[in-house]
Symmetry: D2
Subunit: 379 residues, 4 copies
Amino acid sequence: MPGNSFGQSFRISTFGESHGPALGVIIDGCPPGIAFDQERLERDMARRRPGQSAIVTQRKEGDAVEVLSGVFQGRTTGTPLALLIRNTDQRSKDYGHIAEAYRPSHADFTYQIKYGIRDFRGGGRSSARETAARVAAGSVASMFLEAQGVFCRAWVSQVGHLQLNKPYAALDLSLTESNPVRCPDPDMAAQMEALIREVRKDGDTVGGVISAVCTGVPPGLGEPVFDKLHADLAKAMMSINATRGFEYGSGFAGAPLRGSQHNDAYVVEDGRISTATNRSGGVQGGISNGMDIDFRVAFKPVATIIPPQESVDRHGDAVTVEGKGRHDPCVLPRAVAIVEAMAALVLADHWLRYRGQGHFQDPEAAQQDAPGIRDFPHP
Amino acid sequence: MPGNSFGQSFRISTFGESHGPALGVIIDGCPPGIAFDQERLERDMARRRPGQSAIVTQRKEGDAVEVLSGVFQGRTTGTPLALLIRNTDQRSKDYGHIAEAYRPSHADFTYQIKYGIRDFRGGGRSSARETAARVAAGSVASMFLEAQGVFCRAWVSQVGHLQLNKPYAALDLSLTESNPVRCPDPDMAAQMEALIREVRKDGDTVGGVISAVCTGVPPGLGEPVFDKLHADLAKAMMSINATRGFEYGSGFAGAPLRGSQHNDAYVVEDGRISTATNRSGGVQGGISNGMDIDFRVAFKPVATIIPPQESVDRHGDAVTVEGKGRHDPCVLPRAVAIVEAMAALVLADHWLRYRGQGHFQDPEAAQQDAPGIRDFPHP
Amino acid sequence: MPGNSFGQSFRISTFGESHGPALGVIIDGCPPGIAFDQERLERDMARRRPGQSAIVTQRKEGDAVEVLSGVFQGRTTGTPLALLIRNTDQRSKDYGHIAEAYRPSHADFTYQIKYGIRDFRGGGRSSARETAARVAAGSVASMFLEAQGVFCRAWVSQVGHLQLNKPYAALDLSLTESNPVRCPDPDMAAQMEALIREVRKDGDTVGGVISAVCTGVPPGLGEPVFDKLHADLAKAMMSINATRGFEYGSGFAGAPLRGSQHNDAYVVEDGRISTATNRSGGVQGGISNGMDIDFRVAFKPVATIIPPQESVDRHGDAVTVEGKGRHDPCVLPRAVAIVEAMAALVLADHWLRYRGQGHFQDPEAAQQDAPGIRDFPHP
Amino acid sequence: MPGNSFGQSFRISTFGESHGPALGVIIDGCPPGIAFDQERLERDMARRRPGQSAIVTQRKEGDAVEVLSGVFQGRTTGTPLALLIRNTDQRSKDYGHIAEAYRPSHADFTYQIKYGIRDFRGGGRSSARETAARVAAGSVASMFLEAQGVFCRAWVSQVGHLQLNKPYAALDLSLTESNPVRCPDPDMAAQMEALIREVRKDGDTVGGVISAVCTGVPPGLGEPVFDKLHADLAKAMMSINATRGFEYGSGFAGAPLRGSQHNDAYVVEDGRISTATNRSGGVQGGISNGMDIDFRVAFKPVATIIPPQESVDRHGDAVTVEGKGRHDPCVLPRAVAIVEAMAALVLADHWLRYRGQGHFQDPEAAQQDAPGIRDFPHP
């Protein structure tokens, strides 16, 4: 079983190598009748695009997205959308030096041994260029979700040792796009940007953490027992290049606590059942409970650095690998759009899976539920 | 799409409620010809079983496993194995008080709203009792893997604020089973046990962290781009009840580092290509590289506590929920077996998926690989 | 990827060998709140059961079905239903003679070569005993469908050379259960029964055809392009033991026709759009159109016969295989329940898949549809 | 769950509408290292292409296939192949007349009611133009299979009432491509061609049957119990536009026979176990037995005819639908390539699934098998 598809009901399949003719994605299962917003798609692509600011790679990738199918008269038709992104700035000659060498902490070695052959140009299929297709697909998922009032927003909350230690409720997320780092706290953003510039000067790279919150998620999304909503979010995030960790709600910080400190008390607010605190991160038993879903994703520093590194080639001989220009000193500002895209894909998929589970069949029992429950929109 | 199955080539489907007649699992895709070791299965079940020590719940669950199919003359046949576990100590009367109430940080509310009906006895399907089926299935996966030299071992590395801050290479993992906490450091284990006893005395619970390492994994396991090996491990672990976070390799601690500090240099050792360090956690580009795969899983404190808690019922009315006896003050000692089981299920699945990708078709190119690479056993 | 599961949204996984301890099925994805009708389940099982009449095998199989999970207070809960059927009349000693021999037109040889090991008792996993699990699952699917007004009915339309050449509209399907052959035409049923008795006297077997019709299917079920409704029906039917052919609507008889003879004209009846004829068999472009769905399934004669047959064993040596008593001279009367079960499973699955595709998003466009269309119940 | 993918281990996903910008396919799971033969791909496309002879539609479709990914230095890499086919002769203005009308026996009505919106140009997604993507994917599957000695060959065996009543062993299949009908019997081909010309003159269409045989298939392919090899072939064939029936081996003609006439006796030939006859069609218990796999597929007459037909539009009003030029009087000559492609896709998929089931684990038992069995190449 190959691994280039994600989701079950809202299902994407991506293809393409970093330096091949094109990459792209098929979205199968997008509901019909959704207004397709090409401008919004382009905005999302621009947030992931190289060259968008001074602190990201200066490669010039042509990220124009051509819609090949599935949209008619401005609306989705329920048939597969195919989105095509041509590669235009390939410079394959740059990569002759790594045709046989294994770059440290890259996927050169593992692809070679798994497949016995690899497209070594720019990392081929293992390149983060593949995430362009995810952002395009996630943008379509968001068109669907936002029409239902569901929003996924991510931001940079750590770069290197610089941590933004404020709960998201204390942040003005509308400021995320106001700076090239995509940190909604302007002071911290300035410090982070300075750090990235310093790292870049050294030809080095640095890791960090992206935080995210999904709002407006109705209760009921997520399938027990393996396809818990947070388990699918974990897989989605950990499938992004360079990620090393995932936590939601109280996360690792919840481990030292006691149950009496950690439990979220149910309350009735505005006629709806909700919880007074949200250490559950909006998910209980794998199913959304109507509260915000918040999570964090750790990224390691990008493996491509400028200083020479000792390594070996496929013959087992010692080689020196040198980074060449135009790489990201810190991938997090561009990865914000990818985290949002993957979150939207998970939620759109579970929205449709929930809807496809069938109706409640026992209206009498439902009568006994609190009005707030009965009134929740059943997807 | 329902969510009670896991894996693609080595695929399990579990069923059963906490207080129904039985629970169990179908394993579809287990390779034929594997010697079936019932004693080993029982040993694994005993490690998850309630009542095994003074610091876990004293419920008496009958965890005898009956093999209904798929084994003939002591060997697996390639057809589905069905494993049945009867529920014997159900005491359903204990649960009348929560038929309508929503216990804080449990799944009562989310199941009610998702399905409009729920088996409230002991949490029904949302109970961690379901993990008994996982341990049984994981034991079969381990029978397969260990015959190939692959081992998954987990242990408790944090309980409450007590952290075992040693790298796993500095631990003697054979000591894990020497104490009821399942911490391989005897001193730390004693402290942890004392803490759990104290928490229990308060009728409270406490969270923690389980660490794990998989050894003997050949390079090549894991499917780009979504089904990366660590992404599937993340999903597997986050699907376990009460988990809040997952990290592998350098994890969240890798975020502050620079690329020049973090990269793993390739070296040739004993004629094989390996890496001098292992911040990659044994996985590069989502594919195993032959190094140890290590990861950590955060668990929140168990939601069931003895002191009364304010909550609401399904009618939206205020209620007081009281915990009743026989619950786990700390779930981690019993969860060690679950973490190992889920890791084995992921690896067995990816072993078969790798094998099913087809042969290398270009022997000439393979000739150019280092001898160490050519000699790696191709699953 | 193993092959013991069927369906996507309403998904079953079966297990069990003919002479192992038990067989059964997990149903994952059954909607919550459906009234579970144990009596109906038993009635369906009785229609497939051996020993039900003089013209079927006289084996005594204990087909009592135990519900292990997924039903609470008489209703489905949305969690997996596990249905268990113990094997009680195994007589394993009967099968020693085929431990090494390959019975002609059985699966002994193919299982041996595929798996290197096989449970030879009664055919093991390849035995049609597995279909007991399908009938149990299909019965649950029918509980769901019939509550929506959808019914699947099958009958025997050919035994040997005896063909019932009446369109189903000319038959009184309520007579199907009035005779042991399950042919709704009493005269033809009597002839068929006589033929089966004659065949049985010779220790021989005979094939035939089962016809079926599904009524009340709303338009919109079926997914283009591969999961067309009739394609999934074809797979479902061809997965039943001993089947050799499938056709729907005009079938093979449509091949000689011209388009001008074959096309179904649209008409408006009772304010609804329907077709004047139904050579399309209720499916156009893979999607149901609201008309009856009718199809036919060809069965070969059962392979087990009493007269000695020349064959070989696993060592390649010549052997003589003799049938022993208690086999079916004609499998069709018992297979009627299996055909109905598989049809119900396909329709329940596509009902949920359709529902899970999402809402219409363009109410304005929908306004322009004929009232009859707008009023069709959207699953 | 959407329905635009087929296969599990060798998995294709198609996209595209008849008159959109492009259609195409992603192949995920193609083994690495296969020599990619673009010329062969073009030959296969040419056999399905409109305008190839006087008896098929004279539409001019640009079927040039662009490979966007998954091939490097002339070989497949194990990553997804994306194949793109631009639509060039769209003439959308031709289709204004059916924007609201429902053409008889087309999918206009069912798409409208399922999705609430449809791309009406040329049938949109329901057009047989989609099969161009299948032929492209099937060609890649054949590159893989033929390197293993497996060949799938189809031919036209019936047009209208004209039936080729010879067993395939009596045919010279190398003659299939010698005439525009693709019937390997020259006399029958001439009669069929004359019939198609006559039908075309009337502006009418005619149905028929395509026969096929797969040779060189090793024993062991096919998964019990639902994913039987012939069940997957049935689904594959019935997913092709305009099909109405499928049969394999003895087919519907096997129904009247007795077991003593129908069973295939095992024999040892050239040190291999095979069967003296092949009424099983090369499949026993759903698993290939090493014999030829033969089957037949019935096609209804194409729905598009020139004479005016009475119908209704989406408002329920009566309309007259007239066919316009350039349609196929008989789709069978072009469908031969599609049948071969779908057969190859099924076999490639099951080849990899078989390989991915794991090794035989019991070499001692295997020793006891006939030499012919041990020597069969295990995929």
